[in-house]
């Protein structure tokens, strides 16, 4: 490994740090129509009438589109492989509005001022309906969020729109009730995680235009370039062949852009007018009409015998998908599948769930994707078990954690072929100086310090679904083009995939140019989500390089007039040992451009029957002010097993960044609605993501295992890193104050009132 496992700067870093115009809004045509969306002031209403004639008279207005201008064909905005588990419950514009902020009309004009003026002049008459705002009362409520007959669920996920159910199910092994009844210690608690905003710095944005072939071109800040093509064709009711999607640089995604939040609006305008159009979501729109984390309430029952062997875990998750079902059926699965299997000595487990519709903004995909919620609940319950038993929670976990080689019944029966969780725990313990810091320390100034711990896992891609492919071409002078269908959203997949290719092809990074995603050119890749790119697309790189090397050797043998079975390739030349003949890759690259009938290019796809979990341990040290309940995070130590680390600098940044987001989730971030369903958390004033003053010190180390099915032994890193802070910080606060906060975020008020009950 010459290039793999090196901290290579990202291939696009120079453009990014010098501020080059590489993002969607920087490259949009200057004369394209400005598109904005008029949004519902009501959480639940029927549109009786929309009057647009006055608004249309505003100079510069091109069109105002309403539900009457949209196909009556339901679709999902979830960027998932077809057939999507998310129900087809949306129209681009609907007569029924289902949350405050839902789209009512689309306005396009020459400039923003004209569009905003026209928006104010549109008169909408609503029949206001009672909203369904309490997700605990949603199932079988008489208020239906989706009463319509053309609502459709394509997959057997237990969905039923006449019961407000987006998904429902139960699974398990053994008799949980019986095993729990025999346990010496049983914890039974309810945990509540909130909607969280991904809050990527670049909000949702897209521009669209018609090309010379009469096709709709979509340039979008998306993680799911190919899914955008399919979803837009479905939504607009046009053939997929009429749509092309291009992904430029993306200013962050974290799952938000795995939902097609904004693309439909300018696309509709361009289809209607033939003119280029763009939409740039304001931060407010990105806060009130986007795709945040599913709010979940998790009831956990967990039992251990007198020796502290955890024998049974029972999880029931109620998930709030909001007005639409994007990612509803799938996120909920992870709340059980990626929490229960952390414990390897269970005799029984049960996992049941309901995902319900309500009249708040639709939830979506956010880093961790349900695992984050499930792990907060189960890891908190394990910490509560340790407290009840009076034992060290690290020792309790060492006794129970899943080990390499074990079968994980609650994780599709997969085997933990690579698992360094035990080493992660041992190293985190050293980093945090756990034994010395675990006792609560009174600082003598009204403040107390303590530490907390949590474990986590995730997956690496969606097994037997996710498909990634790359193509590598040999060009003149022998440089390679690496065509990637996965969407680099800033995380660096363009770089790490090139690193893998450089190692496989025995060349330097300089000899490989990468090109990002264009659905007309790039090989198919389902996209960058589910922690799949390194593991799935990385393996496609390895396979492609093998194929390409064979082709290079065959060409070299042909030019040297040697049998191809006898030649070798060292990255710069093909040579024939016995005759001493050789030909450089440069010459081969140039020769194939003349009198050649075989293209010197290879492409391979990859999918995996398994989704090997990365593992992780996080430990938090907090200081709590006992007068006010204020929690300050001092130090966070984390150790990750993501298999082989392909790029240590990028993996470290991913980890530190994910931890900071997890810290935000634990301590600060909350989407708050009033009793009428209005979203108060509509700006960075109200929705506080951590600044550099709020995250303490974050320290990260790696304890790599070797994943036999991954490229160079790699597993994923992108999502797991957000999962430990909430339970670890809650644990540290519980140790310090005796108050176990079971509803995030852990605010000073909750801690204070807990201490002063």
């Amino acid at each position: 490994m010459k290039v793999v496992n090196q901290a290579i700067p990202k291939v696009d870093s120079k453009a990014l740090v010098t501020g080059k115009p590489v993002y969607t809004d920087d490259i949009a045509p200057k004369d394209c129509l400005v598109v904005k969306v008029l949004r519902s002031p009501h959480a639940h209403a029927l549109i009786k009438n929309i009057k647009t004639d006055t608004a249309m008279k505003v100079p510069g207005i091109e069109c105002i589109l309403t539900y009457e201008d949209c196909p009556d064909r339901r679709f999902t905005m979830a960027g998932q492989t077809y057939p999507e588990p998310s129900p087809y419950d949306r129209l681009i514009l609907d007569k029924r509005v289902r949350f405050v902020g839902d789209a009512v009309a689309v306005i396009a004009g020459e400039n923003e001022a004209a569009v905003l003026k026209a928006m104010k002049l549109i008169k909408v008459e609503y029949e206001v309906l009672e909203p369904l705002l309490d997700f605990r009362k949603a199932k079988d409520n008489e208020i239906l969020v989706h009463p319509e007959d053309n609502w459709e669920s394509l997959c057997p996920v237990g969905a039923d729109n006449k019961r407000n159910l987006c998904a429902s199910g139960v699974e398990g092994e053994g008799d949980v009730d019986k095993v729990l009844s025999e346990c010496e210690y049983v914890i039974e608690e309810t945990y509540h995680t909130k909607a969280n905003q991904q809050a990527m710095m670049e909000t949702f944005r897209t521009y669209t235009y018609m090309d010379a072939y009469g096709r709709l071109n979509i340039v979008s800040s998306t993680q799911v370039t190919f899914h955008v093509r399919r979803i837009l064709a479905t939504a607009l009711d046009i053939p997929k062949s009429k749509v092309r999607v291009i992904k430029p640089r993306i200013g962050g995604g974290f799952g938000a852009k795995q939902t097609v939040v904004a693309e439909v609006y300018p696309a509709l305008v361009t289809m209607k007018t033939g003119k280029a159009a763009k939409i740039i979501y304001t931060r407010e729109e990105s806060m009130i009409a986007s795709s945040p984390r599913h709010e979940m309430e998790l009831k956990v029952r967990l039992g251990a015998d007198k020796d502290g062997i955890i024998k049974a875990i029972d999880v029931y998750t109620l998930s709030n998908t909001g007005a639409f079902g994007e990612h509803g059926p799938t996120t909920v699965g992870l709340s059980g599948h990626k929490s229960i299997p952390l414990y390897g000595r269970l005799e029984a487990f049960k996992f049941a769930y309901d995902v319900v519709y309500t009249n708040v903004m639709s939830a979506g995909a956010y880093r961790g994707y349900g695992a984050t919620q499930g792990i907060f609940a189960v890891e908190s319950a394990v910490n509560e078990l340790a407290a009840k038993m009076g034992v060290d929670p690290v020792a309790l976990r060492e006794k129970n954690m899943v080990r390499e080689g074990q079968i994980m019944p609650a994780y599709y029966g997969e085997t933990a072929a690579s698992c360094g969780l035990d080493r992660c725990m041992a190293r985190a313990k050293e980093m945090m100086n756990w034994d010395e810091k675990y006792p609560v320390r009174d600082m003598g100034n009204g403040k107390v310090r303590s530490v907390g711990v949590a474990m986590a896992m995730q997956g690496s891609g969606i097994s037997a679904v996710d498909t990634g492919a790359v193509e590598i071409k040999v060009n003149d002078d022998g440089f390679y083009s690496l065509l990637i269908g996965a969407s680099d959203m800033g995380t660096g997949c363009d770089t790490i995939l090139a690193q893998m290719a450089a190692d496989c092809l025995d060349c330097s990074m300089d000899n490989i140019v990468v090109s990002g995603v264009d659905t007309d050119v790039s090989p198919y890749d389902c996209g960058s989500y589910a922690s799949s790119t390194t593991y799935i697309t990385g393996m496609a790189v390895v396979k492609t390089c093998e194929l390409l090397k064979e082709k290079i050797m065959a060409k070299g043998a042909e030019y040297m007039d040697c049998p191809k079975e006898e030649v070798e390739f060292d990255g710069t030349k093909v040579f024939h040992l016995s005759s001493g003949k050789e030909i450089t890759l440069k010459d081969i690259g140039n020769n194939v451009m003349c009198n050649n009938e075989e293209i010197l290019s290879a492409s391979a796809a990859h999918s995996s029957p398994v989704s090997p979990p990365p593992f992780m341990v996080g430990m938090a040290e907090v200081e709590v002010d006992k007068e006010t309940g204020k929690v300050e995070l001092l130090d966070y130590a984390a150790v990750v097993d993501c298999g082989t680390v392909i790029n240590p600098a990028l993996a470290r940044i991913q980890t530190e960044g994910g931890l900071a987001q997890g810290i935000g989730m634990a301590l600060y971030e909350d989407v708050v609605y009033d009793s009428a369903g209005r979203n108060f958390s509509n700006s960075f004033m109200q929705y506080k993501i951590p600044s550099r003053m709020d995250v303490g010190t974050i320290r990260v180390e790696f304890e790599s295992s070797y994943e036999p099915t991954g490229p160079f032994g790699a597993k994923s890193i992108g999502e797991i890193v957000i999962n430990t802070p909430a339970p670890a910080i809650a644990h540290a606060v519980a140790r310090a104050t005796g108050v176990q906060v079971r509803e995030l975020p852990i605010t000073a008020e909750k801690v204070y009132w807990g201490m002063n009950k």
């Binding site: 700067p9 990202k10 120079k14 990014l16 993002y23 962050g252 900071a660």
Partner: protein, 154 residues
Amino acid sequence: MEIKFILNGKQVTASVNADTVLLNLVRDKGCYSVKCGCESTNCGLCTVLVDGKPHLSCALLAARVDGREVTTLEGLQAEAEEFGEFLAREGAEQCGYCSPGFIMNVLAMAKELDNPTTEEIKEYLEGNLCRCTGYMGQLRAIQKYLKTKKGARE
């Protein structure tokens, strides 16, 4: 109204409305490094220098820069590249969207503060949000950059 100001060393004139903010004016003038992240002066992405001092261009009326000197990252390419190398070596530009505003403030800080402590660095840059990195990599890059600059001066 018409205003005259210096943008990245060049005299420019612009016709602006009373409510035009500097952010939109400099982007219209081709300075695409200047980004908008929040519209509420929380994120620091739109940071530019006015007469050498960092300002949030989303909250500054264009009319206010009449007769003054405005610098964006387009006018500090060599400095951006120099510090940017430290940032990229840590992987701490990640998505890169907050990098220009952040780098503007880092460069202003390097001029303004002598030997800043970690706490001083964090305080100076508190208004620059980043959702990707968790800030630790940025701090490592800044400290290595400042150390190298100091070494070069001594």
